[in-house]
Amino acid sequence: MFFTYLRRELRRRRKAALVVASGLALGIALVIVVTSVSSGMGKAQDKVLQSLYGLGTDMTVTKAAAPAASSSERPRFQFDAREDGDDSEQSSDRVMVQGFQTLAASTVAKVSAQKGVQGAVGGLSLQVLKVSGQFTRGQFQQDGTGGQQGGPGGNGGSGAPQGEVQGGGANFDVNSYSVYGTDVTEPALGPLTSSKITSGRTFRTTETAARVAVADSAYAKEKKLKVGSTVTVKGVKYTVIGVATADSGDAAANLYLPLKQAQTLADAADKVTTIYVQATDSKKIDTVKSAIQKNVSGTTVTTSADLADTVSGSLSTASSLATSVGRWLSIAVLVAAFLVAGLLTSAAVSRRVREFGTLKALGWKSGRVTRQVVGEAMVNGLLGGALGIALGLAGAYAVTAVSPTLQAQLGGGSGGDGGPGGGPGGGFAGPGRQAAAKTLDVALTAPVSVTTVAVAVGLAVAGGLIAGAFGGWRASRLRPADALRRVE
């Protein structure tokens, strides 16, 4: 009888059932969309962080920010100006350590010796400025006005009294690219892990001193590099053995070299800029961080959480919106839906006072009547759940299909290499950070996890139970004498 009665009720009172169900559906759909969008935001943020870190890195160690590097470190180019008419090209590479701050390679061992550290690997980020072009000497003229001034940056004129240098000039390109020296003996950690080798191969663990390079796909395309091509950095020729494509579309560096090679190029023997650290337990990152900071002096430790704090732009706005407004909104809608479902169910019982009174008069136990009411409410809840899941999946799918672009700014926009107190912004001078602030475009997706669906089903059941509790409580209080009530 239970099922017959249930089926008949739901079929004949479809509208009432639909009202309750669609209220719940709305709440559940909202929860699904908000949860999925939030997780999409999380994924987008992970992606942004990963592009800096590589996979599996829990934190990085860099040299503690010190007062600005001495000016003598500034790049300086020297070119000999040629005679007029000599149009041969000159070029010069200036290799700089990114951020001008290095740690001794021995720090890597110190860091990896810390408790809770699973692995640590050092890397050297370099910035190469290539200046190439023609430089002509100016002609000294005793009298005369006008004429071209010495080209900027060129050693054009040696100023002489009462006269001007004329006709001297320079015509050159400045080309800047980033190089990352990777520890080839530790291929599992570091920024290169966030790229896939799309042609050729990656470094062999034995290639510590080999003159080989892996190029980032975007850079390779721009410079028409292929596996087998050669690139020259500061006069040293490297063979391209592979092309890597960054997972997030944003590579850590343009060119990857074995660490030793990078150190030689930058005259930074046994130096690293960044140490990538993996913790044994991702839950104990903070403990590991403080251990490193305490035991390895002169370092700044940046965890992905620290870094995430520096992510700003529409991604972080949307993300905080999703976690605050979205969460509260869906909780509010859900609570409202539960309440409305409960009240509607209770009201439906009130309208059926005589019906339930009659059943009690016929000898139906109170529990049986209550069970019937709860059963109906449960079905309404499940119906709402099914509707809500369908609606939520459609919503999440729509978000993924549209995949709105969000911007993520890293480094909180603190200009320049942060001075003391620059915090993670300045301290995190990882590869790929050309400027203190960096903007990435990330497409937002809304992946629906099985857990989310399970939660939705749980909510549907909860909604049904709450509605059933309201209605059931009302039904259980009906008296058999209510069968004789006149009012409908």
């Binding site: 009888m1 009659t358 009690k360 000898g363 139906w364 109170s366």
Partner: protein
């Protein structure tokens, strides 16, 4: 066999107290047919509730076959109702979403009758009230008289000892009224039921050999010699 002694029912609403029943003494033998009449608000329905175990009196005893219904727990009372008492209401009180047959089956549900037997007995009961062709009809698809017959089938399908009817013809026109009275009287005679009926219909009351009149909660019994 009913024995009512000093049955009093008071309803309190705020400061006002209504004496719906005021010291009613009444004995009804098995197989009796008792008609209850009286002015509106006199306490007829209240008395029927006491007899049917739908409610308990404020004081007094309602003894049915040696059991005082006034002292039974709600669970036991529910069992008594499901086994021994059939109800017929003025407004039929059918479940609107269930078919005629399913409505009749609801009376067998608390008795734990198996589905197949339940269906057969329900169909049989409907045939006995002349509705053998209407098993699958919904109440909304039937006339008032037919609905009341479904209700009668529902009251009698479990073969109770007692049939209680509260103005069973109150919502019916004259033709239907006689028809329903015929059905009820026939069943009463055939099955040896104790049949207690509240009615406003003076024609029915006049014909009744045993007539109880309730005014302001007080009952007076009139017995006529069998015609």
């Amino acid at each position: 066999m009913y024995e009512l002694r000093g049955v009093t029912k008071r309803y309190t609403r705020g400061k006002e107290t209504v004496h719906a029943l005021d010291g009613v003494d009444l004995t009804i033998a098995d197989g009796d047919r008792l008609v209850i009449q009286g002015p509106t608000g006199g306490g007829k329905s209240t008395l029927l509730q006491m007899l049917g175990g739908l409610d308990r009196p404020t004081s007094g005893e309602v003894v049915l076959d040696g059991t005082d219904l006034a002292r039974l727990s709600e669970t036991r009372l529910t069992t008594v109702r499901s086994e021994n008492i059939g109800f017929v209401f003025q407004s039929f009180n059918l479940i609107p979403t269930l078919t005629a047959q399913e409505n009749v089956e609801t009376a067998l549900v608390p008795l734990g009758v198996k589905v197949r037997e339940r269906r057969e007995r329900a169909a049989e009961a409907l045939r006995s009230v002349g509705l053998g062709e209407r098993l699958g009809h919904l109440p909304s698809e039937m006339s008032g008289g037919q609905q009341q017959r479904v209700a009668i089938a529902r009251a009698l399908v479990k073969q109770p000892k007692v049939l209680l009817a509260d103005e069973p013809t109150g919502n019916l026109d004259e033709g239907m009224r006689d028809e329903i009275m015929d059905v009820l009287d026939t069943l009463w005679k055939e099955r040896g039921l104790t049949f207690i009926m509240v009615t406003h219909d003076s024609a029915i009351a006049r014909k009744a050999p045993r007539l109880a009149t309730i005014r302001k909660g007080r009952l007076t019994l009139t017995e006529k010699a069998a015609p």
